[in-house]
Each structure stands twice: as structure tokens, then as C-alpha cells.
């Protein structure tokens, strides 16, 4: 589908604009400029290095690769070094990874800010990191040719050595550093990248580089950071979003052994102690009087009511192809056509990362150091500098490993990092603020609650003639620094992602958006963002239309995607992989959903079993994905499994409810998540389209809910339009 409206909403354009709006230092990231910095001859305590922006080779031939994307389970610390290692022909065991510092040469190559998100770590690094590797290799080849006084054309590289093909002699990269310095060898302006047919590392399964420290308990997450004199704090926050401290009585808290200080901060009252347990007990002993503010009456039930009303009214037009109204007029009255209407409802969701939020801050008069598991360090740094009245250069962010993130740690307001700075400000010691699970669950950064209403028309031939969708839910971008870049004509691109610009040919297709007021919790990107709700609504409704038309859901999608070859190929692969259409037992169902998300194309088939007393077990999920070139297929399969599990929790049990301004859920007993016994067999097929790498981390979360509920319909004839399933009396088979 295409018309001018879509053009204003394509992701890539927003993405470019975002870079420009946010400072845009490196939009259009010019690699040669990065690489022509101080390339050789930097002397550190360990001796001279061959160093450029991303690569540091030491005399002993060890190689550090600076990675400018967070490692939060996504595998960036493995996949990104693979790009360098491929072009530079490194010995994998010589590689270590360092988080790249918060300076502009490390900002996101497409977006011009230091961020990990949008499933872009590999895609945005694909050019820059391979070039960095290839240019470094060219320098080493030149150095060896000078050293041996031989023509460079006879030289090659392998496993960290330059090799002379004529006689087999070789030189370690580290041993060429002196020659590079002596001759002041500079990186070439441009360089040939490897022919993919010659790849030895890219495209081959590679185990994670960070696994050894993670199976031995040695990996340092934010919560594990240790510093001399470090204190631990917990913060008592308002039970209602936006509530303020009226007064507090710390006398009993201060009696708890180990409590050193109680202070008010903007988020509440902080109890600073020698250790976590004292801080926690001190907090329990606090007495705080709150001014609950205007949100004390807030409830999710009221949000649903309001949004249901909204989707009955015209919204802002996000996409308008053909003439929906004319189609309904033309076909609507004919006897053999059918009009279907459905409303889909999705709740607020917490990210519930395994590691609750935390951060460490050390604030001195003229500088501030922060240790944080963050996805968005340039934003954190800017906000910290603003808050402390320091220059950005005086704020140093050490990015730690993070125990999951799923979007939560890319905070538009730097919330948990800035809070630690605020608690540590004015103290002579560094402070680690740890959120309890309850703090984290009730923290108020959620996937926004959404209501979608769709009206569709199928003609007598079973062709979808019209699709009219309205969505209502809070905008993530509105009222943030990203508003200008990510909103056009009042429409948030993230709210609509997944219901506009989909690879289905429907002649008359209109999508409208309502952005209700942003009150209460702060809506935030949550793995797959808009696709988490649009994917459910869109793919459920497609199934409903298929049923109304008496058509097979796979066959219908195959027809709709005829003009979209990559999506079509994915569906064809799926039909074969699962032997679509094969008979199944009475208590079993099969459901299909497909998506274009984060530049990738994917389909999922869920096979489920149900019992008469409404227990459900997902036996198997097959996922076919075309994510461009799969740099690390082992990692891609892991992310697909991961995304499916994450989405299954949301479909089955995930829900944050608010009553009288207070979040009902608090911990894993009342926000249940998927566990081992619920795990389906996940089978992944990667379609190799030869395209450049596209997103992998988020796409698999997008289709799974609809695949499950479509399977449920197949098994039972019951259509679930409101998530989570547990509220419809369904539960995981025990």
C-alpha cells in the first residue's frame, strides 16, 4: 500500500529526523571520518596500541572491541565483534569487549544519539564495524609489506596474523604496531569489504562471548557494582503516580541499625544505609504523609471506558488508501458480502526485567560518575548534567551489563539513573539505589493500554474490500524530547507501527489514531512497542475476516502478500514447514500470524492443546523469519525463542491494573510470568534473503499473541479479543 500519508510515517524517515532533532552529530555516520582519528601510536600503560574508534590491538595481539550497544541479553557483545572479526580476520579467543564511552563517535549510526533500541544494533553496525575491521586490516597489510619489503598483493590475513602466501612466513598484528608508527601508516579512504561468499564468521553459529562470566556468577550487573565507601539506598515512592511528599517522620527509620541518612528526593523519600537490608527495614519504618495529587482517582477500568468511546469517533488519519467509505457503500448492501466488526483490548504491561532497576552515582563538586545498566546513555548524561549544572563532559557513565531491559532501560526521562544522582548529590560517598521488585512493578513505565476497533468488509468472492481501523492509547513520544521527530500531525509513529504500512494488498484501507491524554503511568517502549498491540489486533482481525469469507487464513495471507515477495516467501516457507492444513485432533488448534516489523518479515504458527476446563498448553511454535543476513544464527534463534516467551506471558497473564490511582500488581505472584512447564517447543527457520541485517530482538514478540488466540479459535470456536487470556478464564495447563 502506498500513498502520501504513509510516506510521512515511514519508520526510516522518522528515524532520520530523530537523529537530526536530537543533535544529529552523526547522522549519516561517516566512517572514514571516525577512523581517521588517532589511529596508531597511542601509548597507554600497556604499551602502544593499534587503535581506532572501535578496535584496540595490543602488543600481545589481544584485541579489545568497543561496543556502542548495550548487552541486555540481546547478544550485541557477540554479534557486533563478529562483524569486526570477519573483516579483520581475528582469532576469536583474542577478543574482549568493552562498553564504548559516551562520546559522539559512538552514537547510534542512524540516530545520532547513544541508544540501544529498535532492534537496530546489528543493522546499524553492519556497515561501520565491517569497514572499521577492513580498514584496520588494510593498514596491517601495508605495514607487513613494508616490514618484509614485499608487494602487499601477495599478503593475506588469518587468525590475527598477516601471512605471506609465497613462503608461509607470518607476523602477528601486535608485532606490526611499531611498523605502523614508524611509517605513520594511515587507514585508507575506502576499502573493499569481503564478498559474502567468503564469510567465515558472519552467518555461522557463534556462542556468546559473555557466557563464561554469566555461568560462574562473575558477570557484573548494575546491582553488583562495588565501590569504596558505597552505601545502598531504597526510595519510598508515592503510592499514586505523581504524588508528592507532604511531610515525613524518619525518627524510627533512623533507629534501624545501619541506616545513615533519610532524605527527600523528587520521587519520594530515600533511606540511605550501609547495606540493602538496613535500607529496606529503614524504609519500612518510615512514616510519610503524601499529597496524592490529581491521579488518586485513576483506574484502568475508566481508561478502557474512555478509549472504547474514542474508537467510536473519528481519529487522526494515519493511513488512507482507496476510499473506505465508498467501499462500504458499494458492497455493504450486497447480500453475499459480509461486514465484520471487532474491538480488541490490551492492558498496561510492566517490563518486569529480571534485574530490578538500580543505579550507582558518585557526585563530587565538579564531576559525577554513574554506573548504570542503561540503553540510553546520551540522554542520561544530558539530563544528569542539566540537573547538576555540570558540563556533559564532567558526567561519566559506566554502562554495566543489564539483567534484561526490553525497553525499560531506555528511559526518556532517565528516571532510575537520575534518581541515584539525586540521592547521592551532596553526599561524601557514592550511593547505589536499588528498586525492590514491588517498586519496579509499580514504577509506572508501561506498555500503554490500547483499544482497537476494526471494521472490515469481505465481498462475495471472499476478497477483503475494506479495512477501517481505529486505535486509542497513550502516545509514548508526545511531550518528550522525541515528539518532534516521532510525531507527525499529532500521530505517534510508535502507536501506529504495525497497522500502517503492512505488506497486505487491501484496496481500501484506513487507519485512525487517538492519542488520549497522558495521565498516570508513563507509556514506554516495551519489546516490539506498537507492534505488541497492533500485531494482536491486526492479525486477529485478519483471521476473523478469513473465517467470515470462508477462506483458509494461510491461503488468504498468501494472496494478500503477492506483491510483497519477502513476506510471501516467509509464508510459503511456513506452509511447508508446518504442513499447513494437515488434520489435527479435536482438542488441538493451529493459529497463524505474520508481521513486518523492524525491517524484518516473520510468521508464526502456534499449535495448542486445550482441555474442557479451559487449560491451554502451547505445544509448539514455528517461526519463520527473514531478518536479512543472520550474522549469528545461534543468537537469532535465541532471540526468537526469547521474544516468543515474552509475548506469551503478555498474552496469557500480563496485566497491570490501576485502582484508585494505585497499581494492583506488585510482584511475580500477582503478575505471573511464563515458566519452564509452559514452554513450547520452538522451531525457527531463517529465510536467507541476502538483504542487509534487520531487526531480530523485537519482531518475534509481535505475532505470538494473535497466533495463540487464532489457534484457540481454531480449537474451540471461541474468539478472544481482550488480553490477557487469564481474564477470560483460560490458564496455562498445570
Amino acid at each position: 500500500m502506498s500513498d502520501n500519508r504513509i510516506d510521512t510515517l515511514t519508520r526510516r524517515q522518522f528515524v532520520r529526523a530523530a537523529g537530526a532533532a536530537a543533535g544529529g552529530l552523526l547522522v549519516g555516520f561517516n566512517l572514514s571520518a571516525c577512523d581517521s582519528g588517532p589511529v596508531s601510536g597511542q601509548v597507554t600503560g600497556d604499551g602502544p596500541l593499534l587503535a581506532n574508534t572501535f578496535i584496540r590491538i595490543a602488543l600481545d595481539n589481544s584485541v579489545a572491541i568497543l561496543v556502542n550497544h548495550s548487552e541486555k541479553g540481546n547478544g550485541a557483545y557477540t554479534a557486533l565483534p563478529m562483524l569486526v572479526a570477519e573483516e579483520l580476520d581475528l582469532d576469536w579467543s583474542s577478543i574482549t569487549v568493552e562498553p564504548a564511552p559516551t562520546s559522539p563517535e559512538y552514537y547510534h549510526a542512524w540516530w545520532g544519539v547513544y541508544i540501544t533500541g529498535g532492534s537496530t544494533s546489528t543493522g546499524s553496525s553492519w556497515g561501520p564495524l565491517r569497514s572499521a575491521g577492513a580498514k584496520t586490516r588494510a593498514m596491517l597489510l601495508e605495514a607487513a609489506s613494508r616490514y618484509w619489503e614485499t608487494d602487499a598483493s601477495g599478503l593475506t590475513t588469518a587468525g590475527g596474523y598477516v601471512v605471506d602466501a609465497a613462503n608461509g612466513r607470518k607476523l602477528a598484528y601486535g608485532d606490526l604496531i611499531a611498523t605502523i608508527r614508524e611509517h605513520d601508516i594511515q587507514p585508507p579512504e575506502s576499502v573493499m569489504l569481503k564478498d559474502p561468499a567468503d564469510f567465515r564468521i558472519i552467518g555461522k553459529d557463534r556462542r556468546r562471548i559473555d557466557a563464561p562470566e554469566k555461568v560462574t556468577g562473575k558477570a557484573v550487573f548494575g546491582i553488583d557494582v562495588e565501590l569504596p565507601n558505597l552505601r545502598t539506598a531504597t526510595v519510598l515512592r508515592s503510592p499514586v503516580f505523581g504524588g508528592k511528599v507532604k511531610s515525613f517522620d524518619a525518627s524510627e527509620a533512623l533507629l534501624v541499625e545501619g541506616v545513615v541518612k533519610v532524605k527527600e528526593v523528587s520521587s519520594g523519600v530515600a533511606v540511605v544505609a550501609d547495606n540493602f537490608w538496613a535500607a529496606r527495614k529503614g524504609r519500612d519504618a518510615l512514616k510519610v504523609e503524601w499529597d496524592l495529587g490529581s491521579n488518586a482517582g485513576l483506574s484502568t477500568a475508566a481508561f478502557y471506558e474512555e478509549y472504547r468511546r474514542l474508537v467510536d469517533t473519528d481519529g487522526l488519519v494515519a493511513e488512507d488508501v482507496g476510499d473506505v467509505e465508498a467501499a462500504f457503500r458499494e458492497f455493504g448492501d450486497s447480500e453475499d458480502s459480509s461486514i465484520v466488526e471487532a474491538v480488541y483490548e490490551l492492558p498496561y504491561l510492566a517490563h518486569a526485567t529480571m534485574e530490578p532497576m538500580n543505579a550507582v552515582a558518585d557526585v563530587r563538586a565538579d564531576r559525577c560518575e554513574v554506573w548504570s545498566g542503561t540503553q540510553f546513555q546520551s540522554n542520561d548524561r544530558r539530563l544528569i548534567a542539566e540537573y547538576l549544572g555540570l558540563s556533559e563532559e564532567s558526567v561519566v557513565i559506566h554502562r554495566s551489563l543489564m539483567g534484561g531491559s526490553f525497553g525499560r532501560r531506555a528511559s526518556t526521562i532517565a528516571d532510575f539513573t537520575l534518581e541515584a544522582v539525586e540521592v547521592a548529590n551532596g553526599e561524601s560517598f557514592p550511593v547505589k539505589v536499588i528498586w525492590s521488585r514491588e517498586d519496579d512493578m509499580r514504577g509506572g513505565f508501561y506498555r500503554p493500554l490500547f483499544v482497537h476497533k476494526i471494521r472490515g468488509l469481505v465481498d462475495g468472492d471472499g476478497t477483503i474490500q475494506a479495512w477501517h481501523q481505529r486505535a486509542a492509547g497513550q502516545s509514548i513520544m508526545q511531550d518528550t524530547v522525541f515528539e518532534q521527530a516521532y510525531m507527525a500531525d499529532g500521530i505517534d509513529v510508535y502507536s501506529m507501527d504495525g497497522c500502517v504500512d503492512q505488506p497486505y494488498s487491501i484496496a481500501n484501507h484506513r487507519v485512525e489514531s487517538h492519542n488520549p491524554a497522558k495521565v498516570g503511568p508513563l507509556p514506554l517502549w516495551w519489546r516490539a512497542v506498537g507492534q505488541t498491540h497492533t500485531g494482536f489486533a491486526y492479525e486477529s482481525f485478519l483471521d476473523e475476516l478469513a473465517h467470515a469469507a470462508g477462506r483458509d487464513p494461510m491461503e488468504l495471507r498468501l494472496e494478500l502478500t503477492r506483491d510483497f515477495p519477502r513476506m510471501h516467501q516467509v509464508l510459503e516457507t511456513m506452509a511447508e514447514a508446518v504442513d499447513w492444513g494437515s488434520p489435527r485432533a479435536d482438542n488441538r488448534g493451529v493459529g497463524l500470524a505474520a508481521r513486518t516489523a523492524f525491517g524484518s518479515f516473520l510468521a508464526q504458527v502456534a499449535e495448542i492443546s486445550v482441555t474442557d476446563d479451559r487449560q491451554i498448553h502451547v505445544d509448539k511454535v514455528t517461526c519463520v523469519i527473514d531478518c536479512g543476513r543472520a550474522v549469528n544464527p545461534l543468537g537469532v534463534r535465541a532471540q526468537v525463542q526469547s521474544g516468543i516467551v515474552y509475548g506469551m506471558t503478555a498474552a496469557m497473564t500480563g496485566e497491570i491494573e490501576i485502582e484508585e490511582g494505585r497499581v494492583k500488581q506488585s510482584n511475580f505472584h500477582d503478575y505471573p510470568v511464563m515458566r519452564m512447564p509452559h514452554m513450547p517447543e520452538v522451531v525457527v527457520h531463517i529465510v536467507d534473503s541476502g538483504a542487509d541485517p534487520s531487526g531480530v530482538g523485537e519482531p518475534p514478540t509481535a505475532p505470538i499473541a494473535a497466533a495463540m488466540t487464532n489457534a484457540l479459535f481454531d480449537a474451540t470456536g471461541e474468539r478472544v479479543r481482550k488480553l490477557p487470556l487469564i481474564n477470560q478464564g483460560w490458564r496455562f495447563r498445570s
Binding site: R207, R208, A211, F221, N275, W277, Y646, H669
Partner: protein, 150 residues
């Protein structure tokens, strides 16, 4: 002062008797491999062995483990040689963010010690208390089976 053996070493701990073992390990002994995930025995991140039995250290007060043998993730390898379960975790590329994995490994070791060849149902039962938000369950299952039947 409470006496405690952790990974074979005797410690005299000075901490309030109600301090959960988890925070004794992390804040007093600086053994940070054992993780805080929920604090109410719901997630399994804090799993350690006490006298050989898997225990959620977040709800085990210091007083309750006085004089006992505690094994943490830091104590399961023999020097440089990883425990077979850790080794299997590497071979099957189980970890993602890794935050839950200390607890997963401690639960898996305990399972295999009492049942060297568990069925799928027995794996489900033994591992149901350990949440992984990254969804590594499939590879955990494979790794456990690999150790069970090498």
C-alpha cells in the same frame, strides 16, 4: 555473630539475625553471583544450596542457616574446571542477559544430584520455581538433558 560455611570456608557473620541469607552473601561476603529478583521466593534468582538442598536465600534469615554449609554459584566449579552443568550451559549457549542463570544452574545441579536422569515432567517440576524473563527455558531443558545422558 553467626557462624556459617560458605563454599567450604568458615565465616563469622556480623549482621542482624533477620537478614536474609541473600543479603549476607551479597552485602557482607561480597558474593554477588547470587541475585535478587523478587524477595518473596517467587523467582528463584537467589537459589543456593544449604546442606545440599536448594533454598531461596531471599527468605532464609541468617539465623536459620547458622552453622550450615552454604554453596553458591561461586562455589560449584572445581578451581578452573567448571561444573558439568555450567559446561553444558556453555555448550548449549543457554544464557541471554544471564541474571537468572545463577539460580537456574543451582536448581539444575540440585535436581541432577538427586535425580541423575530426570524426565521432562521432572525437569518442569524442579525448574518451575526459576523464572527467566529472557525465555531461555528451551535451552535450559536441553542442557539439563545433556548432562543427564551424556
Amino acid at each position: 555473630m553467626t557462624k556459617l560455611y560458605v563454599n567450604g570456608t568458615e565465616h563469622e557473620i556480623e549482621a542482624a539475625a533477620d537478614t536474609p541469607l541473600l543479603w549476607v552473601l551479597r552485602d557482607v561476603l561480597k558474593l554477588a553471583g547470587t541475585k535478587y529478583g523478587c524477595g518473596i521466593a517467587q523467582c528463584g534468582s537467589c537459589t543456593v544450596h544449604v546442606d545440599g538442598t536448594p533454598v531461596r536465600s531471599c527468605i532464609a534469615p541468617l539465623a536459620s542457616v547458622a552453622g550450615k554449609q552454604v554453596t553458591t554459584i561461586e562455589g560449584v566449579a572445581e578451581g578452573e574446571t567448571l561444573h558439568p552443568v555450567q559446561q553444558a550451559w556453555l555448550e548449549h549457549d543457554v544464557v541471554q542477559c544471564g541474571y537468572c542463570q545463577s539460580g537456574q544452574i543451582m536448581s539444575a545441579i540440585a535436581l541432577l544430584e538427586r535425580n541423575p536422569d530426570p524426565s521432562d515432567a521432572e525437569i518442569d517440576e524442579a525448574m518451575a520455581g526459576n523464572i527467566c524473563r529472557c525465555g531461555t527455558y528451551q535451552r535450559i531443558r536441553k542442557a539439563i538433558k545433556a548432562v543427564a545422558s551424556p
